[in-house]
C-alpha cells in the first residue's frame, strides 16, 4: 500500500525573513500550537485574477514592509489571505490591508487603492443602479452610458472634481474617497442615473466643489 501522501504546502506565506524555499518537516498534530492570529480572506473573481497576478508585487510589498503583515494567495480557494505577524494586532493594519486588497479586487488601480493604506479617512462606497432607480434593458444601458460619458469623460470629470475614484462595473458602482467627497460623487451619479444631462451635473458639481475647495 502507498503510504499517506504528505500534505504539501500549496504555497508559501511570503514573509520578510524567508525568501528561500524551505523543506518543512512533517508536523505532528500535537505539536501544532493553535494559531490565534486573525486571518482575513478576500475572494477574487475570475476577471480580476490576471490583474492580481500582474500587480502582485506592488500589492504585496507595502503590506509586508510597512504594515508588517503576512499575505498569500490561496490558489485553491481563490482567496487572498492576510494575517499579522504576532498574535495581537492593535494598530489596525490588518483591516487597512484587507480594505486595500478588497479595493483592488473591486476594480480600483493599485496606486489609487494605495491611498487607503496611507490615509485613514478614505472609504469605499458601493451601490447598484437599481438602488437608485429601477431601470431595465435599454434604459439601464443608457444610464450606464450616461454615467460613463463619451470616452469616460463624465466619470473622469466627477473623479477630478471630487477627488474620488469611481469604478463602474456594469450595474454596480464603487466610489473610493473621503466621506464628504463620496457623498458629492454619489449625488452626482444618482442625478445622472435619474436622467439629468451631464452639463447640469457639471454645474452642480462645480458649485459644490468650490465649497469643497475652501476646505484645505
Amino acid at each position: 500500500m502507498e503510504p499517506l501522501r504528505k500534505q504539501r504546502v500549496i504555497s508559501k506565506f511570503h514573509s520578510k525573513k524567508s525568501n528561500k524555499h524551505k523543506i518543512f518537516k512533517k508536523v505532528k498534530s500535537k505539536s501544532v500550537v493553535e494559531d490565534k492570529r486573525e486571518i482575513r480572506k478576500i475572494s477574487v473573481p475570475a476577471h480580476r485574477y490576471t490583474p492580481l497576478r500582474e500587480n502582485w508585487l506592488k500589492i504585496v510589498s507595502p503590506i509586508i514592509e510597512h504594515l508588517n503583515l503576512q499575505i498569500r494567495f490561496n490558489l485553491k480557494s481563490r482567496n487572498v489571505e492576510i494575517r499579522p505577524e504576532s498574535v495581537s494586532d492593535e494598530t489596525g493594519n490588518l483591516q487597512k490591508a484587507a480594505d486595500f486588497v478588497k479595493a483592488f479586487i473591486l476594480g480600483f488601480d493599485v496606486e489609487d487603492a494605495m491611498a487607503l493604506l496611507r490615509l485613514e479617512n478614505l472609504f469605499v462606497e458601493s451601490f447598484e443602479i437599481k438602488d437608485v432607480k429601477m431601470l431595465k434593458g435599454d434604459h439601464l444601458s443608457r444610464a450606464i452610458g450616461r454615467l460613463a460619458g463619451k470616452g469616460g469623460r463624465t466619470k473622469f470629470t466627477i473623479e477630478n472634481v471630487t477627488k474620488t475614484r469611481i469604478v463602474l462595473a456594469d450595474s454596480k458602482i464603487h466610489i473610493l474617497g473621503s466621506f464628504q467627497n463620496i457623498q458629492i460623487a454619489m449625488r452626482a451619479i444618482c442625478n445622472l442615473i435619474l436622467g439629468s444631462p451631464p452639463s447640469k451635473v457639471y454645474g452642480q458639481l462645480r458649485n459644490t466643489a468650490n465649497k469643497l475647495a475652501d476646505r484645505l
Binding site: E111, D112, F156, T157, E159, N210, K211, D214, R215, L216
Partner: protein, 531 residues
C-alpha cells in the same frame, strides 16, 4: 511911537535878510556832519536873537491886556532849549487868542442886548462866560443875575442826560432865539408906532415860564407824539408780510432792503470780464485741457474672486488618488507654516541685501518729499479656511475665530433691494426682471451660437441635438424670404465634375512642386558649391 515904528522896520529888514536865500538851509544838509552842526548852531543863535528882539518890541505894545501875570514880558533865550522857547511863545499866543475871542463875543452880545429888550434872557453858555465883561447896561446886569440864578439851578440838577438835554435845547434855543430875535427885530422896527398894542399881544403870547414848566411842555409834546404813533395804524414797513397790493405803488424802490440771494447772481459782462474769458479760453486750447465727459464704467464685483476657479478636467487624472491626497496634505502643511518654506528659498545674503535696500530707499523717499509718506503696509497673505473650528480635524490651530471666515457676501453676491413676492411686484419690478431675463437669454444664445460655429469649423459634419430642427428652420427662412442659397466654394461637396477635380488636383500638385523647388534652392550652400 516913532521909535517903535523904527524898531519894527529894523526887525522886518533883518528877517528879510535872513530868509533871502533859503538855500542856506539846504547847504547845511549837504555838508558833512561836523561842519554842518557848527553852521546850524550859528543860524540858530541868529534866529533866536531875532525872536527875542521881536517879542520884546511887540510886548511893549500890549499895554491893555490884563493877563500880564501869565505871560512873560521878555523872551528868555539864554541857556534855554528850543522846546522851552516854544512853550513861552505858546503861552503868549494862547492868551492873545483867548482875549481876541472874548472881545469878538462881547461885540456880538452887545448887538443882541439891543434887540432883546423885552425878552427874558435865557441861559446861554456864552452869556455865562462873559460875566467879566465891563458893559454897563442895566439889562446886562439883570441878565447876569438871572444867569447866576440859572447857573445855580443847573448846578442843583446836574445829570449827564439833563446836561446834554439842556445843551441840545440850548443849541436849539439859540437857533430859535436867533430866529425869534430876527423876527422881533423886524417886528419892532415895523410896529414902532403901535407899541402899546403890540406889547400887549406879545405879552399875552409869551408869558414868563419857569424851566420846569418848559421841560414839562417839552415832555408833554413828546408823549403826545408817542401816543399818536401808538394809536394810529403802523406803516406798511412794520406790518410783516406784505403783498404788492397792500403797499403804495413803487414804495419798495424807496426802501433800503437787505436780503440773501440763494443763487449765484448773473455775471456782469464788462470788457474786462470778456477779456479774461478769452484769455482763459485761449489758454485752455493751448494746453488742450478740455472738459470732456469721461464714460463711467461700473466696476464688477465678483463675490467669488478670492476662490480659485475650478477647471473641469475631462481626462483621466494622471495623478493617482494617493498622490493627490499627498499633495493636498503637503499644501496644508505649508499653509500652516509658510515662513519656514520661504526662508529656505532665499539665501542669507539676499535677505540682508533686501533689508538694507529697503531702508535706504525709504529714507530717500522721506527726504525727497515735503509731505510725509507713511510706510506702505506689507501685504498680509492670509489663507482663509471657510470652516468652523470644529471641523478642522487635523489642523494645528486650536483657536479659530469667526472673523477669519469668508463673509457670506464673498460666497454669494448680495441681492439688491427688499425681498418681494411675485404678487407684490410693481410694473417697474416686473419690467426689470424681464429685462434681466432677456439679457441672460441673449448672452446664452450668443454663447450657443459661438459654440455651434466653433464646432462646425472643427467638425463640419457633426450633428448636434437640435441641428436638425435648426436646419429645417433655416430652410424655411430661406424659402420664405426667397434668399439665394449661396454655393460654398470650398469643401469636398463642391466637386461637381471631373474637370473640377482634376483642376484642383493640378493646383495642389503644382503648389507642392513649387515648395519643393524652393526647398531645393534653399539647400544650395556655398560649401556645397565649392569643389
Amino acid at each position: 511911537m516913532v521909535k517903535l515904528i523904527n524898531d519894527i522896520k529894523k526887525l522886518l529888514e533883518t528877517f528879510t535878510e535872513y530868509t533871502k536865500d533859503p538855500t542856506v538851509f539846504l547847504r547845511i544838509i549837504c555838508s558833512c556832519s561836523v561842519i554842518c552842526f557848527s553852521i546850524q548852531l550859528e543860524l540858530e543863535n541868529k534866529f533866536k536873537d531875532f525872536l527875542k528882539q521881536s517879542y520884546d518890541t511887540t510886548k511893549s505894545l500890549e499895554n491893555s491886556l490884563k493877563n500880564k501875570n501869565v505871560t512873560l514880558q521878555k523872551l528868555i533865550i539864554k541857556d534855554f532849549d528850543t522846546e522851552q522857547i516854544w512853550q513861552q511863545l505858546e503861552l503868549q499866543n494862547q492868551t492873545v487868542y483867548d482875549n481876541l475871542q472874548q472881545e469878538i463875543c462881547s461885540y456880538n452880545t452887545e448887538f443882541n442886548s439891543i434887540s432883546n429888550e423885552n425878552q427874558k434872557p435865557k441861559d446861554r453858555k456864552k452869556s455865562v462866560r462873559f460875566i467879566d465883561n465891563d458893559t454897563d447896561s442895566e439889562e446886562q446886569e439883570e441878565k447876569n443875575e438871572e444867569n447866576i440864578r440859572n447857573r445855580k439851578n443847573l448846578s442843583d440838577t446836574v445829570n449827564d442826560d439833563d446836561v446834554s438835554d439842556t445843551e441840545l435845547t440850548d443849541l436849539e434855543e439859540t437857533s430859535v432865539n436867533s430866529e425869534a430875535e430876527k423876527e422881533n427885530f423886524s417886528e419892532n422896527f415895523k410896529n414902532q408906532s403901535d407899541n402899546s398894542e403890540n406889547d400887549k399881544t406879545i405879552d399875552e403870547k409869551k408869558k414868563l415860564k419857569s424851566s420846569l414848566e418848559e421841560r414839562r411842555e417839552r415832555l408833554d409834546k413828546r408823549v403826545q407824539k408817542l401816543e399818536e404813533e401808538a394809536l394810529t395804524e403802523k406803516p406798511w414797513q412794520l406790518k410783516g408780510e406784505i403783498t404788492a397790493k397792500k403797499r403804495p405803488q413803487n414804495s419798495l424802490l424807496e426802501e433800503i432792503l437787505e436780503f440773501d440771494l440763494s443763487s449765484r447772481p448773473a455775471p456782469i459782462i464788462t470788457e474786462e470780464a470778456a477779456l479774461k474769458l478769452e484769455d482763459i479760453i485761449i489758454r485752455r486750447i493751448q494746453n488742450k485741457a478740455w472738459d470732456d465727459v469721461e464714460k463711467k464704467i461700473k466696476p464688477v464685483n465678483k463675490p467669488l474672486e478670492y476662490t480659485t476657479e475650478l477647471v473641469l478636467d475631462q481626462q483621466k487624472s494622471k495623478l493617482s488618488l494617493a498622490q493627490i491626497y499627498e499633495n493636498e496634505y503637503l499644501k496644508r502643511r505649508e499653509a500652516v507654516n509658510p515662513e519656514t518654506k520661504n526662508q529656505k528659498n532665499e539665501s542669507v545674503e539676499h535677505k540682508q541685501l533686501k533689508i538694507l535696500l529697503d531702508t535706504l530707499f525709504r529714507k530717500l523717499d522721506i527726504l525727497t518729499n515735503f509731505h510725509v509718506t507713511p510706510i506702505p503696509p506689507t501685504p498680509e497673505v492670509k489663507i482663509l479656511t471657510n470652516l468652523p473650528a470644529i471641523e478642522l480635524e487635523e489642523a494645528i490651530p486650536t483657536v479659530v475665530s469667526e472673523a477669519s471666515l469668508l463673509a457670506p457676501e464673498e460666497i454669494q453676491s448680495k441681492r439688491k433691494g427688499d425681498l418681494i413676492g411675485k404678487e407684490e411686484r410693481t410694473a417697474t419690478d416686473k419690467k426689470r426682471e424681464r429685462r434681466k431675463k432677456k439679457i441672460k437669454q441673449r448672452q446664452k444664445q450668443k454663447k450657443q451660437n459661438e459654440n455651434d460655429e466653433n464646432s462646425k469649423k472643427l467638425k463640419p459634419g457633426m450633428r448636434t441635438k437640435f441641428s436638425k430642427e435648426k436646419t429645417i428652420k433655416e430652410l424655411k427662412n430661406i424659402a420664405k424670404n426667397k434668399l439665394n442659397i449661396q454655393e460654398s466654394t470650398t469643401g469636398i461637396q463642391n466637386l461637381r465634375s471631373s474637370k473640377q477635380f482634376f483642376e484642383r488636383l493640378q493646383d495642389t500638385v503644382s503648389s507642392k512642386i513649387d515648395t519643393k523647388r524652393r526647398k531645393k534652392n534653399i539647400n544650395v550652400d556655398a560649401k556645397r558649391i565649392k569643389l
